[in-house]
Symmetry: D3
Subunit: 135 residues, 6 copies
């Protein structure tokens, strides 16, 4: 029985969007308010979708307590109350757009999940702006 | 014109997770708090997704009043304010995990819907834990 | 890196469901309360999903400020605080069911988006009734 | 034990704001888009707050099933899928602003509730605009 | 500077409404579905409101991490994944209506909070049914 | 007719909590993760409640388009996509706790509103942590 299970988590972080290969003017033109050199921030909301076959003994696709713990270790501990640009390895040299944050989270969780699971990550930057990987 | 239409409903029920083939200790180890022999409960939220071709005369994929009535008869009347383990046929011998409840609801609704419709059911156990069948 | 980005918007509009080829009785029978000749209304919520490859220079799939502006011009300006049946070209001769409104919005946005993007539109008529095109 | 109990309901209606004592220009200037002569509409959400003493035998302030039924009879049956200006007695000669709709609902429910209860009504016109009576 | 601070938490529990002084028939008549002898359940959501003067040194009314911990110890540990009627001291002899649960939570938190704070507790049994003490 | 009208808005900002009169250790002990010297951030949600008498000619307590504009000028333009500690006058010398931000917003809006209105501001730092002034 192929099914999907979802778990949501969140973290609060600061970030700034810019491309170091560009001039200040070009960064300002492309990223606008998001380019503020003093940073701004968000309540990021993460929806993790795992797909696979239900275990006939437990009736679980995956123990959501385990998934919650993995998300805590890989996402919340790493990013919560951090400045993504300054405080994290992942975004030292990667522009922390929602797209990139979503992809980095997908990679971190992918490395922790058994191969029998497919994985999709949705990241809400605000309730009106969000992304999902893979599409 | 192939489109999807969604209808949401909810029900409040008690349940307990356990596998009768296992010892009490193993049940406790695997299901933890969800194994409480006196039950606990949830406000389950159901999202029913129907996919097919729009009727050119009505402009409807399906009359959502009809879908609402089918969900009422098959899901709400059957499960609302019930103990899933004790009060329902479906879970007399099936562990009422979110995965199994979602699949049972899918079967109940599938039997009531015309073959020209595809069906996907999402079941929220809490706003942070949910499942979807088929994946 | 293939990804999806979402933007939400809303508009408040009046509408009435009916098929001019039918008798008053048949319209009443099929569309019930939604056939009220004096109209009723909704807070429509639109979720626009764009799919494609992230731009390596910006880290964006699409600049959501641009997408917000396109939705404003094509959807909000056209439909907000309007009577869909009387005030809009799109529904002069098309029954404004959620399915049709969703498809019309998809067409309007499709015409404004670059071919490298796929597009999916979800339209909420209420928090419990909604549709998505394409399915 | 003095406590408050709340029940929510909703209705979908069309309306138009205008003052018949004013010129078309003044109405347009004051009410803007809300003055559209062909109407627009909303998903109105009503929160009914009842205050009083808990009954020691039932442990209820008020049976919420009864309150739900009163709201259904007085608010949903009267206003759902209606044009407030054309289809209702209450707004034949009263501008259907959120403030006035809230007050009318308060009066309708007040007449149905026992004197031992205080009553407060909150009306959401959209998730971002709402009113509450009495203040 | 007199201000209010709020913290939300939740717990999932089973319960059954009945008055042991009444006949089965009367219990059924008054409490209806909520009287199911095999229990049903809810995702209870608790909103704790604390009122007082901001501390000039911290700029906090109360450290919400402390409040979160108190709510965890007094409410979540006590009630989460429990059968309120069978597994808790508080409702051994008290009908677990939303009103009573709210009042019990208020008493438990009141005993843990400094006298300089006022306290109001709101308890959501469902998103549409909730209570608040004191009113 | 005394009534309340509400308008919601939001802004995304970075901040850091600390008291410059304290040692680094004491700041870390009291403010924990919120003391990160590189900042973190939030999607702040503001609910503005205005109380007064309805205007008999318009049926409005206050034109919510005007209130929306005042909130835009005083709150969104000032704080959106800013670092509260570095980019704003208000928090140059005031610790940007939710309590202080709420009070500052209340002062800014109070100065723009007619004396016949009472004003209450609620500020959500996250959906689970929020404050309200005055209490």
């Amino acid at each position: 029985m192929r099914i999907a299970a979802f778990r949501r988590a969140h973290f609060n972080a600061a970030h700034r969007l810019f491309n170091p290969a560009w001039s200040e003017e070009k960064n300002q033109e492309v990223f606008g308010l998001c380019n503020n050199p003093n940073y701004h921030g968000h309540n990021y909301e993460v929806e993790v979708k795992v797909i696979g076959e239900t275990d006939p003994e437990t009736g679980y696709l995956i123990d959501l307590k385990d998934l919650k713990q993995i998300i805590y270790e890989e996402v919340e501990q790493r990013f919560d109350h951090k400045n993504l640009n300054l405080d994290t390895e992942a975004f030292k040299n990667l522009n922390p757009t929602a797209e990139h944050i979503c992809f980095v989270i997908w990679q971190l969780l992918r490395a922790r999940l058994d191969d029998r699971y497919e994985l999709v990550v949705r990241l809400y930057e605000t309730p009106r702006n969000y992304v999902e990987y893979p599409a």
